[in-house]
Amino acid sequence: MLAQGVAPRPLPATQRGRTAAAVLVIALVAATTWAVMVADWVDGTAVTLAAAVVAAAEAVLIARSLVGRMVAAIAAPLLGLIVIVLLTLGSMPADSGAGIEHAVLRYAGALAAGLFQSDDWTFLVGLCGAMWLVGFWTGWVAVREQRGVLAVLPVYAVLAVNALNAPSLEHVLIPEACAVGLSLLVVTRTHLAHLESGWRRRRIIALPGTGRSFGRTGAAASGLVLLLALAVPPLTSVDISGRIFDVGSGQGGRGGGQGGLRGGGTTEQQAPIQFSADAQPGGALVADPRPVLSYTSENSESVYLRVVNDTVFDRGNWYYCKPPLARQQLGAGGSVPLDAEPGAGAVGSRERRLRVRIVLDAAAAAVQADALFAGEPQSVLSAGRVPSGSAASCAHSTGSAAGGLLTVDRVPLRPGINNLDTVALQPTATEAELRSAGVDYPAWASQFAQLPTRDPADTTQRLAIQARAREWTRAERDPYDMATAIENHLRSPDFTYTLTPPRPPDGTWPITWFLLTSHQGYCQYFASSMATMLRAVGIPARVVGGYGGGTEDDSSSSTRTVIHRVNTTDAHNWVEAYFPHYGWIPFEPTPPSTVGGQFDTFPRGNPTAPAGGSGPLNAPSTPLPAPRLRLQADVPQGSTVTPAGGAPRGLVASVTAALTLAALALVGWRWLAGAHSGGALRQRMRLLGLAFGVRRRPSDTDAGFARRLASALPADTTTVLHRDGSAPPGPRPVRAAAADALALVAELSGKERYSVEGLLPAEEVRRRRAWQRVCRSSVLLFWRRLLAVTARA
């Protein structure tokens, strides 16, 4: 009796949309894991790719099975645990324990706190667990909860941690950019899925094409965001994390990446060559040269620039003492409070003064908050004024009655000072004098001759090094010859300088492995080994950290004063041994090489002392011209310098080009397929005919031209053979569909042109859709035609 309302057309299922979201999520997780893998801050990260991708796929499947959250929360960890165990069980290192219970405990510990451990397997299991968690979270929240932003935030956390830990951004940039782009697409796709769910729930009918249009808009917005983010330069390029987080003190650190948060220097993994406050021989290095400073010196000689003395020995590594045992402010005229009495032993009796003017790079100035000296620190000025800073000492005693420090192991300054005028003392004692120095060390020097150990394993290694040192110095009678013998052994062809030294076995000190087995390493290996051997034979020693002499600036060769430029790859370690009455004498155990540079031994005596170069301490000297820092534009083409604050131009250009091409293709496609009037359709069809070699004749009707064009389309039976004679799978039957659509377009266009009533709205829609089918098919057909033409050619 009573009429019913008109039932609306039911909403189309969003199966395809959910599949697209699932594919995007898995691709995002894979890209994220790829970025972690190529960052190369830990070995064996390939297994994390499997863990993360499996986790994402598992989350997607569980989400699409529409089980409850509780079921997923129970099932997911179990499945994840199985996956992780399968991936990492084979690489589990053997230990003293045995049995399943022990293995379970090891896995539990590794999953709970593996990311904070230095052991490779434990860390890897922890990383697998973290990546699995990220993958599952992303898949579940994106597909099931349909909250895109929440889904991708953990991915950003991983990408950020990866960026901060990556030794070099060279390989990380592309995968991280891919991951970021995919994450934005996931956000938009997830939002569309969320909207579609809401529309279904509220019985809102989506007009045809809404999803596609949303996808295009979302992709454009994502591209815009990515492009903007890549184009905008960073606000800072200075790493000041060390001032906030007390990291990088050395022990147990993992990482060695771009930021100070990663351990502050070269550690077990690849790291850029740059100054490190501590000497921790570890894994391979990556050259990432950046300008640090330029300097001029009296007589234009090249000098080593001391920054810090590493005096604390721990398991083969050398550390600067933290905190320093004594600290005093700089004195008048910027004088460093170093005890100047030779009797106290802080300085030697044969010294020369050397003044160096240093200009630090702006970026380095904020990081390099220490004064640099060409020898034992004496004074430091900045722009003629005493800079805000102090002198720190690692010696237990404060020295003489004058109150000066017996050693000055570091002169930290207020950050941001980039102009330094430093004076230092260089020993001028001859070899004969040093040989006759004897072993009458002052009491305070004994602290620099100790090699403390923690456990029996450490003691074993220390004894092995000691045995090797005694073997090398067996024939020598005085400390200087013993030191020279060790230096010569290390500089002999038996030892090779390399930036990629082999990794020692777990539990073995890198220098033990270096001295006894591999004989390959870089300056930290040589300096740490020599200092350890010197202490092993009773000679007080310390490792000095700083920079090598750098390179002469060619542009300054014509001037009176030579400017030396120092970059991060000039970071260097050398050794100083203490000789009574002559103070700390430098040694260079690192051999020269084409990879590392020309490391010459220190000359003895005063062969290069300029006239007037040595004299009374704090005497006025001839003013030196200030060096000029080279601009970034002066960096030679083809060098591997990465501008600290610049945008990655290659990536920006690639993304811009890709987006431009995509935009052009989109505009072209819309122009071709978006025609809807009769005239426009005739024009497009004529162009399509030209593409397929059919020219419209003046006598052609719409239907006739459409028939000729359809007959010229490549047949569905066209088969292009590969070079080896094999054939690809059968072609899709698109020709017939295109021909039918062409005929329909022509028929309706003819009706529009010649009939009185024109086209009905429904017929206009049919014609537009038919033309879109023609355009879609023509892409594949044109490709077939190209293949056929190529094959014939």
């Binding site: 932003v149 991280e176 970021v180 009918i205 960073p234 800072t236 790493d239």
Partner: protein, 398 residues
Amino acid sequence: MSGRAPLIACIAVLAFFAGITGVRLAYTLAYVLAFMLLLAFAWSRAVARRVSVTRESPSGVFMVGEPFTERFTVTNRGLLPIAYCEVRDATSLPGYLSSRALSLNGGGTVTWNTRGVFARRGVYAFGPVQVRLGDPFGLFPRTVRVAPGSAVTVYPAIHAVGEIGPLSAGGSGGDVRRGRPVDMPPEVAAVREYDPADGMGRIHWPSTARAGRLMSRVYDTRQSSDLLVVLDLERGHSAGVAPESSVEYAISLAASICHAGLRRGQAVGLVTNDARHTAIGAGRGEAQRLRLLDYLATAEDDGATCLAETVRRHGEGWRGRGGIVVITSSRGQEWIEALLEVGTRGVRHLAVVVEPTSFGAAGPPIRVLSAWRLALDWWLVRRGDDLDAGRRSRAAAL
């Protein structure tokens, strides 16, 4: 929850670590999230200001079963594309879905028509229309009210039940008066003084001759043929679900009978036992018809008074004025006795019983005693009956 708060927190953390480390890639990650947030905000704000919706809706009075068409036009006056735009129509018409979701290019316009049928009586509002749109990332959804609403009244369906009605005085039992009342010659009840406005045909010549002055006829107002419709709207008697419910059938029948009576020139009144004890006095003409239909368009079975009491209360006052039509789906028998009590010699009232069991109510079908069958006219209506045919079911068929 759009995820803005965790996003902002994440940006802050990323920016902090990027700032203290100076790592370019960390900055890029922070920039991506920050730009996403800013772009989403600006996008959402911009498109919300540039969207407009026009709507061409029906208005006025309609009848159940009538179709209608609406036309919506959404225009994006801005340059930015609108990723999604939900046009939410708050129309309360049952079974009518006019909300749509669409996407718009910059400067684009989308138009669509929606068709529907007024399936149920009542007063309905078309609109208002709200547009919900936002950015592609879903961070800043916005809702804009863009079109005011309008109202329509939908009257109950009226069926051709012209021959249905109570028998007037003088008729024999069981007969049905056929034909339209206006076709029958008027009966003269009295004479009065001539009025200059009276036509020549109205002059009663015998009385004029007797009185020696012009006298005019006074016609019978046929009070005895007036109609009182008693509609049972007591709560709990209805069965079935609207629009296929017994109360909807009853209301539609009441509207049809009232409409037919008014078309015949009868004065029709309507009494119900709803919560307001609605009683519309008898009247004629279009105004009465609209008054009755307006009430029936919104009538609800929310009463607590039993039908028998209503019949007694209003039947006594109606005695002698004409017939009574009681429309009910009640199984009780008190109302039948009450209807018989208010009966008048020579007038057979009509009982229209909407059979509740045919609408799914439990229990046996309604049975009527033989004596009542003879005393009243009966019309049994079952679900699915063709009411337009106006067939009557005699009590014998019950």
